[in-house]
Symmetry: C3
Subunit: 127 residues, 3 copies
């Protein structure tokens, strides 16, 4: 499981970068804690981070369950697709919220395949 562990680790590094970017945007656009609104550009950075959490909640368990119950190498491939999709999503969203589509699609496709494969693999094992 060390290959999938590396992929999961890199996805968390990417997420950590989004956290740092949102933190810096808080300072740059003058939104003092605990406020989370007040500047639309800051809100984009915050939404990139928040949306990544929303996706990671599915991605991380689905990645490991897929690796355990279906295929570890395919888990790694789909994991890399997820990481690339998130980078595209962040780049697009920060330029213009209307351009967050392609990256978003890539990550939910990867997540859906991981989740479906994990459930099917576990169901076959259980049967």
């Amino acid at each position: 499981m060390s290959l999938v562990a590396i992929v999961a680790g890199l996805a968390l590094v990417e997420y950590s970068v989004f956290m740092v970017m949102a933190g810096q945007a808080r300072g740059r656009y003058g939104v003092a804690a605990p406020a989370t609104t007040g500047d639309p550009t800051f809100e984009r950075y915050l939404r990139v981070q928040q949306n990544t959490i929303e996706q990671l909640v599915v991605f991380l368990p689905a990645l490991f369950l897929f690796a355990r119950h279906a295929s570890e190498s395919w888990a790694a491939v789909l994991g890399v697709v997820f990481i690339i999709g998130r980078a595209m999503y962040a780049r697009g969203y920060i330029k213009d919220p209307a351009r967050r589509g392609p990256g978003f699609l890539l990550t939910i496709t990867s997540n859906s395949l991981l989740l479906l494969g994990a459930i099917i693999g576990a169901a076959i094992e259980y049967a």
Copy 2:
């Protein structure tokens, strides 16, 4: 662990449905990204999704730790209770925020038992 993997997978499918519902509500009630406020009905859908994340953060690790350190079949039972509780919570909240109580209670009861059981089981093993 394949039974618990199926239950975890189904909980993530349920959460994915809440994500899609919140995304559709964004369009239906005219709340353009990155805003997260502006229409109280949209905010209900968003809160259902957000609150489910808040609970999943406990549920997923507690489910697997309970299965490993206490009992896999009881983990599966409590996991199904969680999934049913979340469905009741979502239905209730969207109709009327004041009616989110029973489903919420069911999920935190399931979460508390999973978490407590996992800690006690691991402590007994460690001792």
Copy 3:
């Protein structure tokens, strides 16, 4: 892995306490669901909970991956540092958002070491 399971369980108990505190603050400061803004003191409690989720998303997988691919006892030590850091963060933030620094620093230091160690450990195993 029972030692790390106990530490993860305690971190989730701490997070559950933050959830209960935010729920009580909702009542005490009169912010009816689904609103998440309206009273700055309530917002502090909510931000403590939200920020803890943001950190747990890294902490929990990194803790277990570090334990599996690097060292279980060091994972437990860093996990305890995380739990202490979060308690300091919550105490500081609720008194005054400007005083959330030291606790925050402690948790991201612990998270960074866990994440880095997990990736390096898994990479050495894979190589």
